[in-house]
Symmetry: C2
Subunit: 238 residues, 2 copies
DNA sequence: ATTAGTATTAACAGAGCTGTTAAATAACAT
DNA sequence: ATGTTATTTAACAGCTCTGTTAATACTAAT
């Protein structure tokens, strides 16, 4: 045992021969069992990038969590930036998906808007680190976001334009109070986002955060409060 | 010229002999002129920590901005953490100071609250990087905040308790709508903070951000909107 | 002018991080 | 079995960052 290699080698499904050209497509289909090394690394990367952001999630940590050497990360994804982009793309894709249903609703104005607020909030709740992750990336590695912009900006703009347009109509019609539609959308976005941005801080304040149910309860209250805020802004009453 | 030293050496006022024990107190008094090296480093550190946060503001950069070698930073402050704590303390002190006047007002409820919102907002506006800086530190280097907690937590709690108490009174008295005081304070804090947290993002969206006056105008509108939101939440009307 | 103490620098040490590579091992086709 | 290819590892190279140190320049007091 000259090299000091670990005794047992884990056996995973094999990934494609040359990961960069994807020559062989011998991926296992619906197999829920043992991941390929490539998948294990992706999963670990997603977890760690969300938890720590780009800079503080090191390739060594990611590989460690996936149970391999960090050389494997470079073997399959070549650079840290590469794998980060894959993770980012995946997460943004989920965000877009979660908004699709809202866009199709053409019901009463307030119902649609409330549903939009609620959907946005629920998406963030089901990805509690997303707000932090996105903010951290925008602030510290904006160039990584920039490369995604052309792909996702149009969708975001469409969603914003949709709601802004409807708010403007109602405002002109006089069925809601006169508001600046852009400001109202900003109200909603910042209230929702900052709930999750500041969640760790809020947890620190909460003395009884020992119990697991705390967060669920807190988020329910918070969501109701945000909706009440916006509704009273638009209608006066609740 | 064996050592390759720079030709002209800058002459600054001298700081104390042994900076750690402060043996000599030969600091220049009201002198607004040339800073001591120590002061130059502090000023550069404050600027860079606010701009980039703890991790990305390197000792080399700070010293460079102050016009000296990074060895000087360690000479005067021993470690990066030391100088950071000094900067943090200074900034938090300013924050506390800015709140003092609000605490003394005992006028009508809404006037006091509006003044509180406005003061908080204006403080953030006059330190546009403060929200980012604090958030970045809480998230990435919480241990640095922890060491400040015992000093500043009581003051923060007092301010919060003051407003929460008054909101609760009014709510029970029936002069405002029934609200959860904690949620309302959270509404205010997150609306104000996130305005500045997301300022860079907002600037990116704003097409006409070329003109310098943009930010001033944006912040005025935003502040009015936040106050309107809270007021309509409490009173229905505006 | 000499000297003692202060301020400053260049150079280096040590740590952690990303990315590369040669060699070892496993899987597989023949 | 044998050879070919895919996977994996250990070791290392190069970079950046913090902190230290020995040597040098400056200042002021005598």
């Amino acid at each position: 045992m000259k090299t000091g290699r670990k005794t047992s080698r884990k056996t995973r499904g094999q990934a494609s021969a040359d990961p960069f050209t994807d020559r062989q497509e011998d991926r296992i289909h619906g197999n829920p069992g043992p991941q390929t090394t490539e998948q294990a690394i992706m999963a670990a990367a997603e977890e760690l990038f969300l938890e720590k952001g780009y800079d503080r999630a090191t390739t060594v940590m990611i590989a460690g969590k996936a149970g391999v050497t960090h050389a494997m990360l470079h073997y399959y994804f070549r650079t840290k930036e590469h794998i980060f982009m894959k993770v980012l793309e995946k997460i943004l894709e989920e965000l877009m998906q979660s908004f699709r249903p809202v866009m199709l609703r053409e019901g009463a104005f307030w119902d649609t808007l409330e549903k939009g607020i609620s959907t946005h909030f629920d998406f963030l709740a089901s990805h509690p680190r997303f707000a932090f992750f996105l903010y951290d990336t925008v602030v510290h590695n904006p160039e990584l976001i920039d490369r995604m912009k052309e792909k996702f900006m149009p969708v975001i703009m469409k969603i914003l334009a949709f709601h802004i347009g409807r708010i403007r109509e109602e405002s002109e019609k006089g069925s809601i109070r006169s508001v600046d539609p852009v400001q109202l959308v900003m109200d909603i976005a910042t209230l929702n986002l900052s709930t999750f941005l500041l969640l760790p801080v809020a947890a620190g304040f909460s003395s009884g955060m020992a119990d697991a149910g705390w967060m669920r309860e807190f988020l329910d209250i918070r969501k109701a409060e945000i909706i009440a805020l916006i509704k009273s802004r638009l209608y006066g009453d609740i």
